[in-house]
Symmetry: C2
Subunit: 411 residues, 2 copies
């Protein structure tokens, strides 16, 4: 008798973004004449930059010719791409990495999910609240939790609330944990962590023999000079942290699919008998067994992101989005809506007007302003009463959305 | 104290193909003047066909323009690609599918691994022996087995030997099992399953409330008219089978990455309390949570495989490989080497000359003929004494390899 993985049945409703998509689709279908502005899901809208398009085409052309055709590539990604990332994205930060420490993948959503494969089920896991739902849900699906309670917390996970009252800075767990997800610049709150705050987490991890799962998907959006772009800028991090990076937001690759995971050689975890095992070797085994590498033309396109020309063009797009962020942040702020984030991150995290519940505000915003955002409570119980707007829209849409929102809820 | 997933430590040595790569690299580096012919890993060598290249370029061009740019696509793949597959690959077989039953992915290696996520750990699993190592190793990594024994079997899995003596047709398990991996046309043996044999498995699965995981990655290579291309050609299969398909071998996508998984709406599995849950819904939850869809230009390229022009071109490449298979099969056969498969599959499974152990023959073939194949024992204990040659080489290389092998071991 074939049995399902019953842990899946503990999951609440649908995954957040499909649920938003469902509501927006229903609204649009019943109001075909109304133009809905989407600042909900954190999806980019600007096209790929010319240098990336050119390299992508060249990669496709290579596949048209027996001499330059590429079949299976290394499951870890091509070394030339790893080296470009090391030279252009890490060396300028003073971070030295080996190519064998960089694993190219089809995106951070997969990597931050799949990384759990190499850890024992008996690890105690801490996540921030609110948080990118994938961290929570993948732990539930794996069986690391019990049922969800009335507030939305799953037993067995340690939640670290991040709210205005603590300046969105999570406190260290009251009980020791083994795995800690950190995402900076943060999704959904748009806030950042200072060097001192990250040093605190590294010190905590080293003292507690824990591993930090550091999601740096938004590092390219940092505008403040003293904010670290990588956890490896922090002394000691090579011994306690895995870092995830993505081309999705940095270079508009949400529909192209490329990311990477860094696992330093020094990073180890224990067996029950106390032996220390290299996590780099385990992840390598995981990827070579369960993954077959990233599309060759995609890797060519990704490498072009870090060419001089490509990076200048990509930076132009990032500046465009960050100007959107400024328009939202300042526009809503001037209208009396309390906003956080949006300075070194493409997300604005606002307090819902009149203390409305997040989903109520979502429905009101959709029905009355025809603007789609993301309900804060979709990211966790401490997101209740907050709402996320993304800066990834087109300029006119962003301006129009701000106008509509301020017209309706501005003081 | 952070703990590793200790099940990984039960795995033997490296994954098969990296180990082959290591030995070939070492040999090539110490013999830089010798031309090594690679018929080992089942990787294609012919370039993508023109219709696919054209569509791939168009897909890239779409990403260059704000009007036609694509960000996140559906995690399940674009419906237009699912519909093309249904119309062109399934309808002609008399198989009706809904778009919601087809999940586009980045390849069958990922899908045949990840599918285990939705099943309980307490299912009893049967795999053929020899077998594509991924089926075995992913079950070990998940913790479904104990340690490996001296023969190479992991306790807790049910192995179904496929050897010349039983015509490579596995017997039904002696004890009931819940999940059964079947791969037809078979990798590594190159043999096929008749309609009657597949009906036998479907009847077995229905009688035992089991699910068949049917890997049809090589269906495009079937040349015999009566051999089913899909498990869904068999009455009853919609209630008991998941099918995996791949563009990798069909259309040379090993370096491009696209595949698909079919889960019919009728297919269910039980909870401990006896409730039946739709596997389609669970897989949908898995994919929406842990995966972010396939690269848009890649999906465009994949759709072009099934255009009239594309399919004619792809069929030309398949014919080319199958002529290679004939050359290997007949050449070695005439020289007195016993060969199986290679008629409706791109693999020839041969008995090693003089009863040599598989890895000994691998090393001898590499050192003395400078030809790379795959040791049968790498696919499981019952593969010992066998050896796999792939028909995916260039014509001249294949002819030269056959000449070298026959010159050395022909009678």
């Amino acid at each position: 008798m074939v049995k399902v993985n019953e842990h899946y049945l503990k999951l609440k409703a649908g995954y957040l973004f499909p649920e938003i998509g469902r509501r927006v689709k229903a609204y649009s279908e019943s109001h075909p004449d109304i133009k809905v502005i989407r600042l909900g899901i954190g999806d980019v809208t600007r096209p790929l930059v010319p240098a990336v398009i050119e390299a992508f085409h060249q990669g496709v052309d290579d596949m048209a010719n027996g001499e330059t055709f590429h079949g299976y590539g290394p499951e870890q990604g091509y070394e030339w791409l790893a080296k470009v990332v090391i030279d252009k994205a890490y060396k300028p930060l003073g971070v030295e990495l080996k190519a064998s420490e960089v694993f190219i993948s089809d995106g951070s959503k997969c990597d931050t999910s799949n990384i759990l494969d190499i850890f024992g089920l008996d690890n105690r896991v801490a996540i921030c609240d609110p948080v990118y739902p994938v961290y929570n849900d993948t732990n539930v699906m794996l069986g690391r939790t019990g049922e969800v309670d009335a507030r939305g917390y799953y037993s067995g996970l340690v939640y670290l609330p991040c709210v205005a009252e603590n300046n969105f800075t999570p406190a260290f767990p009251e009980e020791p944990v083994d795995l800690i997800y950190l995402c900076y610049p943060n999704n959904p709150t748009g806030t950042v962590a200072s060097r001192e705050q990250l040093q605190g987490w590294v010190d905590y991890a080293l003292a507690n023999d824990a591993v930090i799962l550091f999601d740096a998907a938004y590092e390219a959006f940092i505008t403040e000079p003293d904010i670290p772009h990588s956890i490896y800028e922090i002394p000691g991090a090579r011994k306690c942290a895995i870092e995830f990076r993505s081309f999705s937001k940095t270079a508009g690759f949400t529909g192209v699919r490329c990311g990477l995971t860094v696992i330093p050689e020094e990073l180890t975890a224990k067996t029950a008998s106390g032996e220390r095992i290299k996590l780099n070797a385990l992840w390598n085994r995981r990827q070579t067994t369960k993954f077959n590498g990233v599309s060759f033309p995609v890797q060519k396109a990704a490498a072009a992101v870090y060419s001089d020309e490509g990076w200048a063009q990509v930076q132009g797009v990032i500046d465009y989005y960050m100007e959107n962020a400024r328009i939202i942040r300042e526009g809503l702020g001037q209208a009396g809506i309390t906003c956080f984030g949006g300075v070194s991150a493409p997300y604005i995290w606002l307090k819902t007007p009149q203390g409305m519940a997040s989903w109520d505000f979502f429905d009101k915003l959709l029905n009355e302003c025809h603007v789609v955002g993301t309900p804060g409570s979709g990211f966790g119980p401490s997101g209740e009463g907050y709402f996320r707007l993304s800066a990834f829209g087109g300029r006119e849409n962003v301006q129009e959305a701000v106008k509509r929102i301020c017209g309706k809820w501005g003081k």
